[in-house]
């Protein structure tokens, strides 16, 4: 199973000092957090993509390449890549290039973005969000899988005789996740292609997350990619840890109470009850996280949001240290102990996809069993 960090990349004032980091400091902090992730034995670092303040990560592949140059094992990913407003041609080229630079240590998570004004800045309309995600991603698959593409669609200039360069590393496109909180169409999309499904989870109750994952799993099986329990699932979560629960709460409460995403609404206690946020000891985080698998089934990737609520960098690095040294080793052991042999431990990686060979379903634009296939199977 893979464990890692995902960062939104928000510039948030530290409410205890009133100090707001500069964009430069925040970018450097995200890099330091990613490097720390590898140092303490985590597997993945995923960055957000945003094009509006107070967020800094507008150039994910630039940043991930910089991190790749300073790491050896860390898998670089996104949370999320805006498939709606980013030209799929640029996604195809940028991430193939990143594959080459990083030696294949790349996967991506597609997301739509929920900020209305961002869409028109890129010539798009949020009301077409789902349709954009569907059309753009299908084109992206073709660009990575067909050397020469002739294409016409609703939202982009047609392509005639177009070759996206460089071609994916070893002719093998990166593995893709689709992130969605509430949109069932996106769970359906992930299932159709046999891609991974990631539920951000951090602002939702586990019952809701479990319903979305359950839908994806059933449809994954429906499309012939394997049994429902073999579908590739990732979850988000967030925590703040200290030696005792009281100490963790004492330190984190002013951050929670004032954070733009948490504060001025429910109490810390109400929010930790309702969502994955765990503020307490490493043991509490372990127990809470293991419980996710009871709700969504055995899964393959757990990402934690640790640089939230305006916490200063030194505190975040210390939190990542505790996560990597004390929490994740236990989680690895316990998650594998409960996992049936038929359920994959890890999501597909570049190495595993290359090993499957060029005839594997991963290399098909549309690997799903079609309605015609299903009818034929029923007819026996």
């Amino acid at each position: 199973m893979q464990f890692g960090l995902f960062s939104v990349g928000d510039v948030t004032p530290d409410p205890t000092t009133g100090r707001t980091p500069s964009e430069h400091e925040r970018i450097q902090a995200m890099t330091a957090i990613a490097l720390k992730a590898e140092e303490v034995g985590l597997d993945v670092f995923a960055t957000g993509q945003h094009h509006n303040p107070p967020f800094v990560p507008s150039a994910p592949t630039t940043h991930l390449a910089y991190i790749a140059a300073q790491t050896e094992r860390l898998l670089l990913s996104t949370a999320t890549t805006l498939i709606t407003t980013t030209d799929p041609v640029r996604i195809a080229e940028d991430y193939a290039f990143l594959q080459h630079l990083s030696g294949g240590r790349v996967d991506l998570m597609m997301g739509r973005g929920n900020t209305g004004p961002v869409y028109p800045w890129f010539g798009k309309d949020i009301r077409q969000g789902i349709a954009l995600a569907v059309e753009n991603y299908h084109l992206l698959r073709r660009l990575w899988r067909e050397d020469v593409v002739d294409w016409q669609g609703k939202f982009r200039t047609p392509l005639h005789g177009f070759t996206s360069t460089p071609r994916p590393l070893d002719g093998t496109p990166p593995f893709v996740w689709h992130g969605s909180i509430r949109s069932t169409e996106i769970a359906e999309q992930a299932a159709y292609y046999g891609d991974g499904f990631f539920h951000n989870h951090i602002f939702w109750n586990i019952e809701h997350t479990a319903q979305m994952v359950g839908l994806y799993r059933r449809r994954f099986e429906h499309y012939g990619h394997g049994a429902a329990e073999q579908a590739i699932v990732g979850l988000g979560g967030q925590a703040f840890m200290a030696g005792t629960e009281a100490e963790a709460k004492r330190f984190f409460r002013p951050y929670f109470d004032n954070a733009p995403v948490y504060g001025h609404g429910p109490s810390l206690e109400e929010f930790t009850r309702a969502t994955p946020l765990t503020v307490g000891t490493p043991e509490m985080v372990i127990e809470r996280t293991l419980g996710f698998a009871d709700a969504v089934g055995d899964y393959q990737r757990q990402l934690f949001l640790m640089d939230h609520a305006g916490l200063p960098l030194d505190v975040v690095l210390e939190q990542v240290e505790i996560l990597g040294r004390e929490v994740v080793p236990v989680l690895r052991r316990e998650f594998e102990a409960r996992r049936p042999v038929s359920v994959p431990s890890d999501p597909p990686t570049h190495a595993s996809l290359v090993a499957e060979g060029p005839q594997a379903p991963h290399h098909l634009v549309a690997p799903a069993r079609t309605a015609a296939d299903r009818a034929a199977a029923r007819a026996g």
């Binding site: 569907v134 069932t184 169409e185 159709y192 602002f203 429910p266």
Partner: protein, 223 residues
């Protein structure tokens, strides 16, 4: 067949004149449904008890608290709705609107609704037609022609009891719609051809498992 009547009331004090009016309308609806040979079951959503839950739901990106989820289920499964609010600053109260704002926009499709309001003076009575009626029309509810407005002086009643007559009138209009059959006979007309078929309703709780097949989504874009 039992018809489920849900009463949403936004009074703040206890006892509140808004709740008094809500109860009178609910009783009248029960009587009118019974008069049509059916049984009515009334459930009351006191919005004052949900005030903090509504604020929490608003500040957590729409994740409903368990109590908000329960209230949404009630409304989305109602056969008829009675909505009563005090008039605050020339409109429905903020608490009342917060509740309407957490409802799914498909929660009240085609549902018969009585709108009612209380105020200190009858000068506010157009709130029914300028604020409440368009609100529920937006939600595709069927607002009955008679709204019920009660200023403080109306609770005096007197011999004419105009308020009582108005309540009975609104209740009768609601009861007629609540007991009426809707749509085609099941299985007789294929659903997609049945132009009179009611729109599906949703509480907004939980995930809609009825997804559009992805091949259809892709095909719709010509891919």
């Amino acid at each position: 067949m039992t018809r489920r009547i849900v009463v949403v009331t936004a009074g703040l004090s206890n006892p509140s004149s808004t709740r008094l009016l809500a109860d009178r309308i609910a009783d009248a609806v029960t009587t009118q449904v019974s008069a049509r040979g059916e049984r009515a079951e009334v459930e009351v959503v006191e919005l004052r008890e949900l005030a903090q839950d509504l604020a929490t739901t608003m500040t957590t990106g729409g994740m409903p608290t368990p109590r908000v989820a329960q209230a949404r289920d009630l409304v989305a499964s109602a056969d008829g709705l009675v909505a009563v609010t005090p008039v605050f600053t020339a409109s429905y109260s903020g608490l009342f609107k917060m509740f309407v704002d957490v409802l799914d926009t498909d929660a009240l499709n085609g549902v018969p609704v009585v709108v009612a309001a209380t105020a200190g003076t009858s000068r506010h009575q157009l709130v029914l037609d300028h604020a409440l009626r368009p609100l529920f029309t937006y939600l595709r509810a069927v607002v009955v022609p008679t709204g019920v407005f009660a200023a403080t002086e109306d609770f005096g009643g007197g011999e004419s009891d105009r308020l009582g007559r108005r309540i009975a009138q609104a209740a009768a209009e609601l009861a007629s719609l609540v007991v009426a059959e809707t749509g085609a006979v099941g299985g007789f007309v294929p659903r997609e051809d049945d132009l009179a078929a009611p729109r599906r309703r949703s509480s907004g709780n939980g995930v809609d498992e009825d997804v559009t097949d992805f091949e259809t989504l892709l095909g719709g874009l010509g891919q």
